[in-house]
Symmetry: C2
Subunit: 683 residues, 2 copies
């Protein structure tokens, strides 16, 4: 691992230095200022290579990933944060992380969960009425139009609580969280239909739809009450929000549905997911049974599940559904009756499932089998249209023949997990091999392996530029590796993850070339998508319109203009309409009494880009990030007497430290000093 082939490299290095040195001698093009001397620079490069132990390949990789001063990365990658519960955004090919965004958990830099407005969003994610901040984000997905990323919204799931969130790329903040009313754990998803009619998620750990106890170690009980599902979340593009009312779940058996993908073009209308526990194994290592990992892997095949959301809409319209926890559920028998669900066997405990750019081929990775299985949608439909089944599962769901739906299989290696696509008409896909720590490039029509590259180490998913769309762009592939082990300077037992950037479009080389290793310093990404930056540039805001509530993206009712600041005390409620602008808050003093509720609305009056302020205060556990134009509110009960400094927590100006104030909490029986409250009558 990580050892260089020293002799060959030294040789090459020497040669390269020699070659560049030849340029030194040969080139006297522009005179001899330190920067202008091309020969001098070539000599410098040679010296740096020698000093730093760089091979010519290293210099090439560096040149392919370096972004010059002030230039923007041409691609952006959205990556999940795993147990950080966040979304990570980074530039490609520089592999520099640009933003880490709070989604399901608390995050103080953005004031996420610490200002009133964001607290309302997080509340939407409550589980059985309680806040749950332990999110596990897995699969971010851009909204799509005509099957390509339009970049307006990002959806992301939380596997641990069965939630999804909607992020608006105008300001890259979370706008909505939705808790699945029937599924407790959703791994597959988010995947979107080709015009984002729906956001598709699949259940992971089967559980009863209700909140009752059922013995998970009783096979009959388990078979009868534990369920999986495919949930289709209706997306209202105008509002930019999930429409829970018009969302629905298709009830499925407890097979641990897994990764999913939506059909497109010819397969538009269908959703596909894998699964890994058609055995319906109950586990119980504590009772001497084989553990889940053994029992779930017993069968030679598990099932791909296909569900038809387009037809399901009709079934819903007919009123053929149950309502469970306020959510529309199409029961299995209704689904079967209406041809909404089919199963196809796949080797062996499969993982990723990906639909090809033209919508025709469905690729499944074997995980415990060494093949990628390529299914042909036309063959699938041929059998479905003629009702040619290979039997039914215990719940009565029709099974289609694996042999008759397969286009073919390609042997890629040990532990195939996921696939991504190159430019559509190349018919090239890339398969990640977890156990082999490698990526295989192959032709999924000709079923032929073309190239293989080692990665470091144990890759999960892959992402390519626009890789999930009808129009993948090629160019770059990123390997989302799960283990870093020795790749980075040691920083303790908890290691970063390792995202490796691979060049897949080098015109001189058909083969993949490793370019860059990027440690992921927080969380554990599981899935990512890469989009052209230009798509986002037109959309993303630089500042907020003055007085915007970031959670509604509309004017806040508490917007305060300069000169309109006020403090009003009504009963035991002190309400402040404040402003922030370089370099002061207004007001600089807030008085209240012990036990008062204090509500402070702050508007950042700046119009200049990046002139962000931030509100921090002693003891009261509230904070707000105040971007230019934003209005945010903090609220608390002033339960302790005393002096509480507050100040600007985002370095904004030369006089940033002088941007502060005092909250003064009086005992109940004390008198307020004169001028403590001021009130402008005009609105």
């Amino acid at each position: 691992m990580g050892k260089k082939k020293l002799s060959r490299r030294s040789l090459l290095k020497g040669a390269a230095i020699g070659g560049i040195g030849a340029a030194v001698a040969g080139s006297q093009l522009l005179g001899k200022t330190p920067k202008a001397d091309a020969a001098g620079i070539s000599g410098e490069l040679a010296r740096v290579m020698k000093e730093r132990g760089l091979s010519p390949d290293d210099v090439l990789a560096a040149a392919k990933t370096y972004i010059p001063e002030g230039v923007h990365d041409p691609y952006l990658c959205i990556s999940s944060g795993g147990q950080s519960g966040q979304l990570i955004l980074y530039g490609v090919p520089s592999m520099r992380i640009l933003k880490i965004i709070g989604v399901f958990g608390l995050e103080t830099w953005q004031g996420w969960g610490f200002d009133k407005e964001s607290q309302e969003i997080l509340k939407q994610g409550n589980v059985m009425g309680k806040p749950v901040y332990t999110g596990d984000t897995h699969h971010p997905g851009f909204s799509e139009t005509k099957g390509d990323y339009d970049g307006e919204y990002v959806f992301i799931n939380d596997k641990s609580q069965g939630r999804i969130a909607v992020i608006d790329t105008r300001d890259w903040q979370t706008k909505q969280i939705v808790k699945n009313p029937v599924l407790k754990s959703t791994h597959g998803g988010t995947s979107v239909t080709q015009d984002t009619e729906y956001v598709f998620t699949a259940c992971q750990y089967a559980a009863p739809y209700d909140n009752k106890y059922y013995d998970p170690m009783d096979q009959e009980t388990y078979n009868k009450y534990f369920r999986g599902g495919h949930t289709y979340w209706k997306f209202d593009r105008k509002k930019g929000r999930i429409d829970m009312e018009n969302s629905f779940t298709i009830e499925l058996p407890p097979y641990m549905q897994d990764i999913n993908d939506c059909g497109k073009l010819m397969s538009h209308g269908w959703g596909f997911s894998n699964s890994f526990n058609t055995e319906r194994y109950l586990g119980g290592i504590e009772r001497g049974n084989p553990p889940f990992e053994a029992g779930c892997s017993a069968n030679d095949t598990d099932f791909i599940h296909m569900t038809n959301w387009l037809k399901a809409e009709e079934v819903i319209k007919k009123g053929d559904y149950k309502v469970i926890n306020g959510h529309k559920v199409i029961p299995m028998d209704v689904a079967i009756e209406n041809g909404l669900v089919y199963l196809i066997p796949v080797m062996k405990s499969p993982h990723g499932i990906t639909v090809s750019p033209d919508g025709r081929y469905i690729l499944a990775s074997g995980k415990l089998d060494t093949h990628v299985s390529v299914y042909d949608f036309k063959k699938i439909m041929h059998l479905i249209d003629r009702k040619i089944y290979d039997g039914k599962d215990p719940y009565g769901i029709p099974i289609l023949s694996m042999r008759r739906t397969l286009h073919g299989m390609v042997q890629t290696g040990l532990g195939p997990l996921h696939n991504q696509f190159d430019v559509a008409d190349t018919h090239i896909a890339y398969n990640s091999l977890f156990v082999d720590s490698a990526i295989v490039k192959y032709d999924y029509i000709k079923l032929k392996v073309l190239d293989r590259i080692p990665i470091h180490y144990n890759v999960g998913h892959l992402t390519a530029v626009h890789g999930d769309t009808v129009n993948p762009r090629g160019k770059y592939l990123i390997s989302l590796n799960k283990l870093a082990i020795d790749r980075f300077a040691p920083i303790g037992p908890l290691h970063p993850q390792n995202h490796e950037l691979i060049d897949i479009s080098d015109p001189l080389h058909k083969n993949m070339r490793m370019l860059y290793a990027m440690p992921v310093p927080i969380g554990e990404p599981h899935y990512a998508q890469i989009i052209e930056t230009s798509i986002l540039k037109k959309r993303t805001w630089k500042v907020y319109p003055l007085g915007t509530d970031a959670t509604t993206m509309a004017r806040s009712p508490y917007r305060t203009l300069a000169g309109r600041e006020k403090i009003i005390r009504k009963g035991n409620h002190v309400e402040v309409w404040a402003t922030a602008i370089r370099s002061h808050f207004n007001p600089e003093h807030i008085y209240c009494k012990v036990g008062d509720k204090v509500t402070i609305h702050i508007t950042n009056l700046e119009r200049a880009e990046d002139e962000t302020h931030d509100f921090g205060i002693y003891y009261y556990n509230v904070t707000a990030s105040l971007e230019p134009g934003k209005t945010a509110t903090v609220e608390f009960i002033a339960d302790k007497e005393g002096i509480f400094p507050y100040y600007c927590q985002e370095f904004c100006s030369a006089l940033h430290l002088e941007m502060f104030g005092y909250l003064a909490v009086l005992p109940k029986d004390a008198e307020f000093p004169e001028g403590a409250f001021f009130n402008h009558e005009e609105e």
Copy 2:
């Protein structure tokens, strides 16, 4: 901003390409395999440069920062996270972030605040008995031995709550949080004495030491009751913890003490800090007064504060202190009487204060004045020893003459904030100019400016390799810029910060050269330190000894070996001793009743590096990161009946998804199934 000088660059680029192209023609050293052909590679480099618009300088910068596959960064940088309340760790010169560490707030990836052990640490940071998760980290500092970083511990302050934390570099996790019992806001610090006898912090926003109300807008009250201070935290190296019992604060006037630094070598025993409100201005823009930013800047000078902690130890031994909130405080009059405190005027509302590597010179940046003021410790002591004062401040503290303590002043530019040192005997320092967006290199003995480089934009502090020590290494300087504006792809109104890496040791060039721009994606760093990775390599653990409690770094009483798993129910408490190893938890089922307290201790039995597992569960808002060898505990009240899946949240193996279990919560009147509890009698 950010525009290239196109014509000159294009010219240079053409020249370089031509030069390298000459090498193409001239060099046929090693035959023609794609990797081995030096000429081919030079040709490739030229093509990549053209395609990507890189100048020769860009290629040089890329070559100077690129780290080849599997090679470790030679330097590590610790940076504060600002309002993220975290510590950020990144590699230099690759500028890749390696880890983001939870300190004062909650963080789910590390389970920080979500497992029982870490909750105990966070509790130490409670303010007036309540948890406050809104930390504002500013100044991390490595522990020192003989005035150089020994890298064993990192201290970091929280400006917003007056707290500091101790991080152990064996596993880079927070081990202790300490709340300052008398100061509510501490900006200056953490700075360490040369053998880490003490960790030094200075007050920012003056406030009364107690928790009573005093009118902040009454001058007499303010002058009488509002206080600043210098707190010296005793560090017990053996325990690796702050010893609160032997820590103390020297009471100071309400001058808003600011950035601080400890003396070293000849100035060992002293602590220095700046200040910005000797005006004792009260503000009140809401009442028509000039805001704080104006009033605090009225005077031509503010004060450097010098306090003598070495002498203060003697005063404490004599018993000459008060106890406030359980903390030893040396009152101002006692401090004055014992020669523990002196003031020196400095222009104008100064910011950074830094002691030179030999301990003799104290550099203060003017902030609102365009100079760096260089004070001479020998001159200072000359006056102190002879009691030659320039009067006293309103509290009776002796003032030393600015003129007679200055070595000299250097005019650097607009908004000087901070200084860092190059190799000691060069007498070179670097000054950050916030308003000018530049860095100036100068000789602080000769008081001569040597070079200037623009940065992007508005730099706060700087950091150089071992820059705060007796032995700075030179090589690199990082500019911690506060505004990024247009430097990175647009990602909404909340921008990343921008850390720019500068080459200060290029043997061919006396001048500074910009190398790399690193966006900081979460929080806002204020200060950083850079250390040689080799110092840490011997110390940092790869795995934990089996069964370690990470908060004590010793064996957990709950360590569970394979085969020793058990579930015991006593009354309404279900306690589980569980294990995690690829790819299963043991047990896979936990039964309890509604209302039971459930305590789950999990030991990760893996011994392989980076084989981390993680515990996540539905609804109960607990999680634990389980590094190899670690034992961690989660605890909750099972207040809802039903089925709650739990699973491994850190991708650990091919069968990672199969690593799960069920918590089954029975209604109170139901019967437990057989085998629900099992108990191994032997310990």
